[in-house]
């Protein structure tokens, strides 16, 4: 298209480069008069007119004329005919468009819409005018005399009323033209009215209503174009040439994996934030409840004292002068102690918080309020020191003595706490969420995605597993390979376990036997209460304690060994073959651990779990 096709030329023209500067010359300047033919060829570029219309007779005539003009010929000018426009006859233009416009000095800025500018949309036609004349003559629609004594109805009022009818019925019966809805009653429309209509018009509603009913058809009285809200509304509309100005439906945003991930992240974050906010609120509620309780107690104390005072007064018991003040002023310490009691009962972090708030007010009460934890540590210390003392005592007894008994009651050498060899099974959060738990793993767990087992999450576990192995070697060397997470444990099983033995926390460990077989061993801890109770007795020392095992629900499918000294483990399925060769180690090991746990379980860790 950029070069004319000069078939006659022998020299091939270079393509015209739009960036290239071209010399502007006059026709007379052309040095070599090339063969006219080639230069005078008419260019046939794309016109931009539709092909079918391009060949229309009149357009072709004009184009041809201009082409020949271009080539220097004189051509008769052609025109494209169009239908007539004539001056309208009988139009009182000055009446219709009065000469009242004043050109402002500055550019016009205008924002009102057509609706704002044309007043009432309804316009009277001839029939309306006729009716209105009759109405103002005192006749109603049936030609009878009007009973009401209304004055003249102005045209504007009439139109407002008609407009009200039209609008309201269109609003209430948008599909009237389709389903032939009954004409609305006047009362109904009055009830449904949205915009206030003037009091003047209101008076005329009734008489005009009858007339409107007569004229009312399926279509609005003022012709309107057909508009559909959505272009997807209905297929049928598509073929209707009168339907126009469809709304474009909202643009769809592109869906990509990246967007999805973004959205998920956002939702997750929101979820976490909402949850922590909820948690905070819950804590606040707890605190406030405790506060309320304490206030009530205060009040009761106060009342009691007041009564006391009254009694004193009645009985004429004379107190010290400060007595009355005491009732009020000394209130504080009293209330503190009551708070302290509440503290002990609640045993919740919330309580502690409350206390610290109290700290702000006065430092004194702290002295009065022992912490539960302090109590416990104290108790533990007492237990431990007693044990130590007893051990020392025992050793002293046995000094210089040789124990010939079969099972001497010498305390075992201190070993690392066997408890640590056992990892706790994951526990469901004791505080259940007020809302269902997140369907997606929280961020922290997500980072370890792919690990279904939570056990390995306890960091020290790997090493401890080795220790456990070492313990096992006492009886029989065994190579143990520990692969964290290799042995999936579903939450279901864990919770089942929990349910079966609510008082203790199941512990378990993974062990790998010969041939890569792996075992999960579980053990139940003793109830917590025992710790504080059986302090001194020898029964708490190891070794001589009889093996004990804890029932585990049958539904647990992992390998389970209950340990009995010198007894093969009860086989569970695939365990069977294993037993023959390694029957003993497991049981012995198990037994020792179990007892150890009983003796040395740390109150601290358990308390934390609670």
């Amino acid at each position: 298209m950029s070069t004319r096709n000069n078939a006659a030329r022998t020299v091939r023209q270079r393509k015209l480069n739009p960036k290239q500067g071209l010399r502007i010359i006059r026709e007379s300047d052309i040095e070599e008069q090339l063969d006219d033919e080639s230069q005078r060829q008419v260019y046939h570029g794309e016109t931009g007119v539709e092909k079918a219309e391009e060949i229309e007779y009149h357009l072709q005539a004009v184009i041809n004329a201009s082409n020949s003009t271009t080539l220097g010929a004189r051509a008769k000018q052609s025109y494209i005919p169009t239908p007539d426009v004539v001056r309208a006859k009988g139009v009182k233009y000055d009446d219709l468009y009065p000469k009242v416009f004043k050109e402002p000095a500055t550019y016009i800025r205008f924002g009102s819409t057509v609706e704002d500018s044309v007043g009432v949309a309804y316009c009277m036609n001839d029939a309306d005018i006729e009716f209105l004349a009759r109405l103002n003559d005192g006749k109603d629609i049936d030609g009878r005399d009007r009973k009401d004594k209304l004055s003249q109805c102005p045209e504007d009022t009439f139109e407002e009323v008609m407009n009200f009818f039209e609008d309201t019925s269109a609003r209430l019966q948008p599909y009237a033209n389709v389903d032939n809805a009954p004409i609305l009653a006047l009362e109904e429309m009055e009830r449904a009215q949205e915009e206030e209509i003037s009091a003047d018009s209101r008076k005329w509603l009734k008489p005009i209503y009858k007339y409107w009913v007569l004229r009312k058809g399926n279509r609005p009285l003022m012709p309107s174009i057909k508009v559909r809200v959505l272009d997807t509304a209905s297929e049928a509309d598509d073929a209707d040439p009168y339907v126009c100005f469809r709304r474009r439906e909202v643009r769809l945003t592109r869906k990509t994996r990246g967007r999805d991930a973004q959205v998920v992240e956002k939702l997750k974050k929101l979820r976490l934030e909402a949850q922590s906010a909820l948690e905070l609120v819950r804590l606040v509620v707890d605190r406030e409840r405790v506060k309320a309780d304490s206030l009530q107690v205060d009040r009761r104390v106060f009342n009691e004292r007041k009564q006391l005072k009254e009694v004193k007064a009645a009985k004429n018991i004379i107190g010290e002068k400060g007595d009355d003040e005491d009732l009020l002023v000394n209130q504080k310490p009293v209330s503190k102690s009551s708070k302290g009691r509440g503290d002990g009962q609640a045993q919740r972090p919330a309580t502690i918080r409350l206390r610290s708030v109290g700290d702000g007010r006065s430092a004194a009460p702290d002295v009065d309020l022992p912490l539960l934890d302090d109590w416990r540590t104290e108790a533990d210390h007492f237990v431990i020191s007693t044990i130590e003392a007893r051990k020392e005592q025992h050793k002293k007894w046995n000094q210089h003595w040789i124990d010939e008994t079969k099972y001497p009651i010498t305390p075992p050498s201190e070993e690392s706490n066997p408890m640590s060899k056992w990892a706790q099974l994951p526990l469901e959060g004791l505080n259940s969420y007020p809302t269902p738990p997140p369907s997606l793993p929280s961020q922290s767990s997500q980072q370890k995605e792919g690990e279904d087992v939570e056990m390995p999450d306890v960091p020290p576990k790997v090493e401890e597993g080795k220790q456990a192995t070492a313990g096992a070697e006492i009886h029989e060397p065994l190579s143990v390979f520990h692969i964290p997470g290799a042995y999936p444990l579903s939450d279901d099983e864990a919770s089942d376990d929990d349910a079966a033995e609510p008082s203790g926390y199941p512990a378990c460990r993974l062990r790998y036997g010969r041939g890569g077989r792996c075992y999960l061993e579980t053990r139940k801890r003793r109830p917590y209460g025992q710790l504080s109770r059986g302090v001194v007795s020898d029964s708490d020392s190891d070794e001589d304690y009889g093996p004990g095992y804890f029932p585990v629900s049958e539904r647990i499918t992992f390998d389970y060994r209950a340990a009995l000294n010198n007894r093969p483990t009860r086989p569970d399925g695939m365990l069977v073959q294993q037993q023959s060769s390694h029957g003993r180690w497991a049981s012995g090991d198990q037994a020792s651990m179990k007892t150890g746990a009983g003796a040395h379980g740390r109150p601290g860790s358990q308390g934390g779990a609670a």
């Binding site: 480069n17 739009p18 079918a52 239908p83 426009v85 416009f101 309107s224 100005f245 709304r247 474009r248």
Partner: protein, 518 residues
């Protein structure tokens, strides 16, 4: 895009099966029949698109072959020449494609689906003898006749092509109207003009609607554009105007002899009384937007389709009467409307307008452009075009009107391009720097390089001399320019004074507004 038909080969022989022909009586005439109709004293082949009985007499809505649809009209039975054979409509779907005489069109391929075939078209066409006017699609075909021009409708010729513009465009490839089978009987006719075979545009209707959803203002769809005109006449201001094409005004107006259109708000009324009442209440004196340009003759108002939905819809309904390919399928929100008015004591009077997409993916600076028929041939079209380029200059963009152009639009744009390019070349020549590239010209005039080249080549101004291209200010072009200047001296020259637009800034729409509000 497609090659243009210029060569008329006389290969008539290779035609497809000829349509059935025979003699008809008034009673046997049906829709789709092509008969010889008297037009301006000549007989011209025309297709009957609709039949009505008026005052007991049948009247026929006919489309003349190779005439623009704006010349379609109702004719009485007397104008039908039944002494000649008529061409019966082809049976429902079959072989139409072939019918077309492709004699002239060299490059067009006839696709079967298109031609005549538009199945729905033929099916939709009412066959009953009395049909109230309804929109039926009119096939379009052309055979060139010798008739010089239409008399009755041709009351107004466009003497000056630059003046009249009616461009409608929608982006897209033009798709020819579907023609019903046309059999060119006459050799002469065949020789005169080539009819492009209706090669269906690349667009299916669904595709087209989807395209329109995101931009554009015009339709390629035959069922959309080939309809029987539905309004008889309109009155606007002091003028009575014959509509050119179908427009989806309320269907009730089909029965009105005259539809009244308010000059200010463009509201429409089927009844003079109602119109009179409306005029008493209407308080608009100008298009409801901001005036962005004013000179001694005209003002321009910028109107946002989203803010002035009713007014812009009214404007579109009105302009659809004169723009064949304009589509009103979707709402006006994505367009800005630049309306040109002249002023007097009555207020501002709309002369013409062009619409413009708020964001045109194709880089168009004009969607639809129209000078109202009562103001055509007075040079306003050129002002509108010039204004659209002035806006593009401020936006620092190269603009081009949406394609396809209408016939009048093409002539208007060509005249404008020719004038501004020639003026620029003369100026450069006068400055003594007679070297300019096509891109230079384009950026100086805010025109696309393509339009520049198109214009230069069409005027035969690009030549190859001394192994290099040169731009030649030909005698013909200079003479034309002189003549035009002479005319301007006599009649006064109207131009848009760009400096008066200095305060205008392109409206900015937020991404949210673009995404959600249109």
């Amino acid at each position: 895009m497609a090659p243009r038909n210029d060569a008329k080969d006389g290969e008539k022989g290779a035609e497809e099966p000829k349509p059935e022909r025979g003699y008809a009586t008034l009673a046997t005439l049906t829709i789709g029949t092509k008969a010889s109709v008297e037009k301006d004293g000549e007989k011209r082949r025309a297709e009957i698109l609709s039949i009505q009985t008026r005052r007991g007499r049948p009247t026929y809505y006919v489309h003349y072959e190779e005439f623009n649809k704006r010349l379609d009209e109702w004719v009485s039975a007397e104008r039908l020449d039944l002494l000649q054979e008529v061409e019966w409509p082809a049976p429902e779907k079959p072989d139409n494609k072939s019918k077309q005489k492709t004699t002239q069109s060299k490059a067009q391929q006839v696709s079967k689906t298109d031609s005549r075939s538009q199945p729905n078209k033929s099916q939709k066409r009412p066959r009953s003898a009395t049909v109230t006017r309804e929109a039926s699609e009119t096939p379009f075909d052309g055979s060139a006749k010798s008739s010089r021009r239409p008399s009755r409708q041709g009351g107004k010729e466009n003497l000056d092509p630059t003046v009249t513009i009616a461009t409608e465009e929608i982006g897209g490839t033009p798709q020819p109207e579907d023609e019903s089978a046309i059999d060119l009987v006459d050799m002469q006719e065949a020789a005169v003009a080539a009819k492009a075979a209706p090669n269906h545009g690349p667009y299916s209707r669904e595709e087209e609607i989807e395209k329109l959803r995101t931009g554009g203002s015009m339709t390629q769809n035959q069922t959309e554009i080939s309809r029987v005109r539905n309004l008889e006449r309109i009155q606007m201001g002091q003028y009575e105007i014959e509509p050119w094409y179908f427009s989806p005004y309320p269907a009730e107006f089909t029965d009105c002899d005259l539809v009244y259109i308010c000059e200010s708000c463009l509201c429409y009324f089927g009844n003079n009384t109602q119109f009179g009442r409306h005029r008493k209440k209407c308080t608009l004196f100008h298009p409801p937007g901001n005036e962005i340009y004013r000179d001694d003759n005209v003002s321009f108002f910028e109107i946002d389709g989203r803010r002035q939905r009713t007014w812009c819809r009214n404007l579109c309904l009105l302009s659809k009467l004169f723009l064949d390919h304009k589509t009103l399928y979707y709402d006006v929100d994505p367009f800005l409307f630049y309306c040109m008015t002249f002023r007097n004591a009555h207020g501002h009077h709309l002369v013409g307008y062009f619409s413009k997409e708020k964001e045109s993916a194709e880089g168009y600076n004009v969607a639809c452009i129209l000078t109202l028929p009562q103001h055509q041939r007075k040079g306003y079209g050129k002002l509108l075009i010039q204004f659209s380029y002035e806006l593009s200059k401020i936006e620092n963009k190269l603009g081009s009107p949406e394609k396809p152009l209408s016939d009048l639009g093409l002539l208007g744009y060509r005249a404008y391009w020719q004038e501004v390019i020639v003026d620029l070349l003369l100026e450069r020549e006068g400055e003594g720097t007679p070297i300019v590239s096509a891109e230079d010209i384009g950026s100086s005039l805010a025109m696309t390089t393509n339009d520049v080249l198109h214009t230069l080549q069409n005027l035969n101004m690009v030549r190859y001399s001394n192994k290099t291209h040169v731009i030649v200010l030909t005698e013909a072009v200079l003479v034309q320019r002189e003549r035009q200047k002479e005319k301007e001296r006599i009649k006064g020259k109207r131009v848009i004074e760009g400096e008066r637009l200095a305060g205008w800034r392109p409206p900015v729409f937020t991404a949210a507004a673009r995404t959600w509000n249109w």
